[in-house]
Symmetry: C2
Subunit: 217 residues, 2 copies
């Protein structure tokens, strides 16, 4: 068996990936449809996550699939509390824009996924100098899922305006676990052609030359 | 202009993404070819990174492209130091396997990329309750780049056995920046059909049911 026999991709296949990456969006509650996500679709999202890279092949991810309205409502309450704290943080002229933004889709999305990092409890190859790479493996799984969602025309939104300890308690997560992301998942009435925050000029897209350096800073 | 007019993907396009995700590998120095990565290819990798999601559209990533042998050599020295510390951490029976593993490709890969998180310095939408999501945005950019690399048949390896503070000093990174990843990038003599650590039975693939929970733990 030639283990080095991994498939070579064509330029047309690379172009498909480029297109999926460029069209991926963060989807919020004003776009989700009240239509369940089929098991076969969910399975494809999970498969994409489970094939993510992980430090030392540790696969330190756990996914809590939430459809229960009472559980979602409790998470939504944490969002509301945290979002009220967030508004005054922004400059006065931005606060009115901030207040108009829909920043989550917890109740509207038929499926929520709480994504956790579970520490291995034993030494992990590659994690001995930079402990945080375990968390980063979980983020790679989320990004795989997000891209696969877009390819399947399923919207995903990442809600980060939450108290992670409250969410842990709501889903009875083990104390050693860490909440990495809370995702809202579902069909949508369409996908934006550009990021919403770019359209609204909340932030500008950075020119590439400001983020790329050669040899050293 | 209908902003909600984002492209819908076909099942065949989703299958291409599934295939790229399943075939992505962590590539080490025993596989890299001594062949430069063309500018047009590098540009596609950077474009993939720059279209990643980021909290509040903050785009908090910076990329240092390293081809200089002296700089690479200094990073390699940090790897060697950290790797010597790592070996005794593992159980005696695993140490001989560990010692045989090629865990980086710093000198062999024609291109190295040090990827940093640069804090915005002002409040970021979505980052007010979970500060760490800024780092996670950078990881999403890395995963986009990794998948695009695989689609272009370019190998990428993530080296995490490094002292991040030493790497910062080597590339003169601003003190407020945080090293997220150090990547080795280049053409390869092939791609493994399975993760190397799975083939070597360093770790087993986890069954899906152990990582997926319903409603709560």
């Amino acid at each position: 068996m030639n283990l080095l026999n991994g498939k070579l991709f064509t330029e047309a296949e690379a172009a498909v990936l480029r297109d999926i990456i460029a069209n991926r969006r963060d989807v919020r509650g004003n776009r989700f449809l009240d239509k369940p996500v089929e098991e076969a679709i969910l399975q494809q999202l999970l498969d994409a996550a489970l094939f993510a890279p992980s430090v030392g092949f540790s696969q330190p991810w756990e996914f809590v699939l939430i459809r229960d309205k009472d559980i979602k409502q409790q998470v939504k309450e944490s969002f509301t509390t945290e979002n009220e704290k967030a508004t005054p943080v922004f400059k006065t002229e931005k606060q009115s824009v901030y207040a108009l933004l829909k920043l989550e889709g917890i109740m509207e999305a038929p499926l929520n996924i709480a994504v956790f990092y579970r520490p291995s409890g034993k030494p992990v190859l590659g994690q001995t100098s930079m402990e945080e790479v375990g968390l980063y493996s979980v983020v790679c799984a989320i990004q795989n899922m997000w891209l696969m969602g877009r390819a399947l025309n399923i919207g995903i939104g990442w809600v980060s305006i939450l108290d992670p300890e409250k969410v842990k308690r709501i889903v009875n997560a083990p104390v050693e676990n860490k909440l990495v992301a809370y995702l809202c998942v579902g069909y949508t009435d369409g996908f934006y052609t550009q990021p919403e925050l770019e359209v609204l000029q909340w932030e500008k897209r950075k020119p590439e030359q400001t983020t790329v350096f050669y040899e050293t800073y």
